[in-house]
Amino acid sequence: MSLAKALHSELTTNLGVNNQIGTRVYTHKAPQDTALPFAVYEIDDSEHHYHMGGVSGLRKVTFGINTVAATFGAKEDAANAIRDALLASDITAGGTLGAGGSALAIQRLVLTGEHDGYGKVDDGDDQIRYWRIQDFECWHAESVPA
């Protein structure tokens, strides 16, 4: 069960996201000279729940997605497509994130905050970019070791 894999699967197969950024979804850092726009995501923190007997199998994760674009409009469209993909009714109130072997059952996924910026980003190109960081919180089941 990997939230990081499920996120990548969801965002790279969602039609709305594809229309904006193709499959340019990366974890931690985009490859140098990646075409724009693209998105980079990273797990920020996680909270694992236990009971007297051991692992409860419930995890809360916070993660961020940074959408980078050459224009304000492209940044808006790409970030909004990502928001719409993740907050779709089949995911946000209990559903499945991702598909196939990367699918993850979700109990709750919400967008908790976002902020925009304009400046140089670490994408291997010394240019000014538009970017938006979106912060999400997700509750999902995790494996209970035997």
């Binding site: 729940h49 236990y50 009971h51 007297m52 007997g53 409860s56 419930l58 709750r108 919400v110 919180e137 509750w139």
Partner: protein, 134 residues
């Protein structure tokens, strides 16, 4: 013999009669007490004197648990008669504390964006037994 502080993880709960399937987070004993009589009188000097009752009150046991509506026996047996509760494997030892008791209260929390939990209160009736199984 030195006494080492221990964490409570690994402790189990067993009911003698009822079935209660639950993930437990905390177990708290409170009000385990004994009353006393003030025996002070006109001739008492320096400080008041007291005499203990022969019987103590086992108080109440409060248990916090994960509430899961998908589990048929997740709700505590609030209508059951008094039965033996055994709090065992305390801190993964073989020791246990047992008592007869009955459920008097159950609170459930179903929050908007947090895990669901419950708190049950058990009234202890009679003696509390501590068994050390080395």
């Amino acid at each position: 013999m030195a006494t080492t502080a221990l964490v409570g993880t690994g402790t189990t709960l067993t009911l003698a009669t009822s079935t209660w399937t639950v993930e437990i987070q905390d177990i708290n004993f409170s009000g385990w007490s004994r009353e006393f009589i003030d025996t002070s009188h006109m001739g008492t000097t320096t400080a008041r004197t007291f005499s203990p009752h022969d019987l103590y009150d086992g108080g109440e046991v409060t248990i916090d648990y994960h509430f899961n509506p998908d589990t048929a026996t997740n709700l505590p047996p609030i209508g059951a008669a008094a039965e033996t509760f055994t709090i065992g494997s305390i801190s993964n030892t073989n020791d246990d504390i047992s008592f007869s008791g009955f459920v008097t209260n159950n609170d459930i929390s179903i929050p908007f964006e947090d895990k669901m939990t419950g708190t049950v209160t058990i009234k202890v009736t009679g003696a509390i037994t501590h068994t050390i199984n080395m």
